[in-house]
């Protein structure tokens, strides 16, 4: 059963319950408790295609909670905290920013706990089982490009994490919403007027944020792993013509090693995983001003 088959009211009721609402997010089973107004409707819209976890089992990888404090901050300028088996180091958000808090909190949970994976800081899309990694610093246009690609038929694996299993060298999909920031919200709305976005949250720590709903097919395909084939480092430059420049492999190795959140932590198995990717992937730099042009170039790259 999908989250979308529940009514928004039932979603809210389950989020409030003692064990929370549990769903399958890529390789993980996540349970979330939240007693926060407006959040259930937003969550229901963006995560409607995800399967509820009751059919899967009774164990979770993550137990997350959006908790409201007791006392003054429950009522006056109310806040909401992200918790995972107790308090975390995430700073609280204003209550009406619960959705961005959940999205960032879940990323924080993965970055601190999921060390069974080599965690690449990259958006990942795929054609079938051939994956394209888009590593990039914040502001490089990684999420915008990722959104444009999945709106043009690429399969979404994740807009934030390349979850690489060091043993098998496979990437696990984790299709969730894509967080678009500031100007890229309008860019994506113009790029595809049919794109489904959640509400805009102004004045977060990264400016205005709106979340693009993941393509239903990508979510249905979330257990189908992919192999890394292309690594493209995007750089947005206003007005620039799209240009794809191949990189030598030794640069590729350093790009990947520096890009992973937990490369040092993985030790030898991290080194082996990156070596293998360096051998099996092709590396590029991509400069772009218009997402449509960039998508066309990458389609061409994938076809060649």
């Amino acid at each position: 059963m999908k989250i979308g088959t529940l009514t928004p009211g039932e979603t809210a009721r389950r989020l409030k319950s003692r064990d929370g609402l549990a769903w399958r997010a890529g390789p993980f089973v996540v349970s979330l408790r939240a007693d926060v107004p407006a959040f259930p409707e937003q969550f229901h819209l963006l995560y409607g295609e995800h399967r509820l976890a009751e059919e899967i089992g009774k164990t979770n990888d993550f137990r997350l909670e959006l908790a409201r404090p007791w006392g003054l901050r429950r009522w006056w300028r109310p806040k909401v905290f992200f918790e995972m088996d107790g308090p975390t180091r995430m700073a609280p958000f204003p209550l009406d920013h619960a959705l961005p808090l959940f999205e960032w909190g879940f990323n924080y949970a993965i970055a601190t706990r999921a060390n069974q994976y080599l965690l690449l800081h990259a958006a990942v899309v795929a054609q079938g089982e051939r994956a394209l990694l888009l590593p990039g610093l914040p502001g490089s246009g990684k999420s915008t490009l990722c959104a444009a690609l999945v709106l043009r038929g690429w399969r979404l694996l994740s807009d934030e994490f390349g979850l690489l299993r060091p043993g098998s060298g496979e990437l696990a999909p984790l299709p969730g919403s894509i967080a678009l920031k500031n100007a890229s919200i309008a860019v994506i709305r113009a790029f595809d007027p049919a794109a489904v976005l959640g509400p805009e949250f102004p004045k977060t720590r990264k400016g205005t944020v709106a979340h693009l709903r993941p393509p239903p097919e990508s979510v249905q395909d979330q257990e189908r792993v992919a192999r890394p084939v292309w690594v493209v480092s995007p750089r947005f430059e206003a007005g620039a013509a799209a240009r794809l420049v191949p990189l030598p492999r030794d640069h590729g190795f350093l790009r990947l090693a520096h890009n992973a959140f937990n490369y040092e932590l993985q030790g030898e198995r991290g080194f082996r995983a990156v070596t293998r990717m360096t051998r099996e992937c092709r590396f590029f730099d991509l400069t772009f001003g218009d997402p449509g042009e960039a998508v066309a170039l990458l389609d061409e790259m994938a076809a060649s």
Partner: protein
Amino acid sequence: MTGAATLLVVLRQPERLALLSPPEQEFLLRLARRVGMLGPLHHGLERAGLLATLPAPIRDGLEGGRVVADSRERSILWEVDRLERAFFGTRLPVILLKGAAYAALGLPLARGRLMADIDILLPRADLPLAERELRKHGWLTATTDPYDQHYYREWMHELPPMRHCHRPTELDIHHAILPRTGRLQPDSALLLQEAIPLPGRPEVWTLAPVDMVLHAVVQLFHDSDFGANALRDLLDLDGLLRHYGPTPGFGDRLWARSRALHLTAPLHAALYFLQRFCQTPVPEHARPGWLMRGLITLAMLPDHPDPRRDGMPVRLARWCLYVRSHWLRMPPGLLLTHLTRKGLRRWRQHVWHRRGV
């Protein structure tokens, strides 16, 4: 059986985890994560060949914990190597304490043990030289606050923690195993005399096995934060006694040594709790008083993965033990001025610092 009691059973016999229902497994995994014991569990289940039988979230959770523990062990052993280099050509030995020693010796209890920092022991007279050498090689003192500096240098058994400018691992340089202001003052010269070099590595030393045990005893009763690392300290002791205990004459040497270091009372208590919680084979010992028995039995085990949801009696017992450990650390007058000073500093920061005045 409560979650905490099952946790102890599973830590002793990891294969028992595979027999529990998935929700119980998840609860235990979360408890084990709280006390930093995912690594040893993963090791145990791997040896038993049972990892594949576990549900994916349990197996993955254990693996994630193991990766972190292995990485910490690597950084600690690398730090040992760097210390050896920094002290090379001086008369300073590298004498490892606690986790770093267990790892360097390759003891079974070190497998997957989550280590935080590296501790070494030096004669007090050699501290200025050691600090000079370390600074020359890139280590820096982590705190510059004059009161903190004074606190460590005058009253504690260690220097203010140092850290190499390129690495995150904290280095604690001890000249004793208990504070200078404390009630008990085991003689460091005795510990240094009996230190043993690592096989094939004459520059790196550990304490003698009996002294390692006694240091772990002191750690448990005088330095533990019962909400966080007391269980780990107890399991360290369990591991040490299971490893060294069967050596002929070990028990006699342990008692003789505890008398020389004036640590018989805490040793009796530690042996009692080891037998009670871990079924460790231990020499004859006396039972501690009813109050300590009650407090430590309550405080030792976590009730819940979320520390805020431990029961009220548990938290109360921990608070009493916290007060006790401070009581043992300093004479009352000094303790009072120290706490006042710390409290005042916190209050000042809160009110004024935040306003940018």
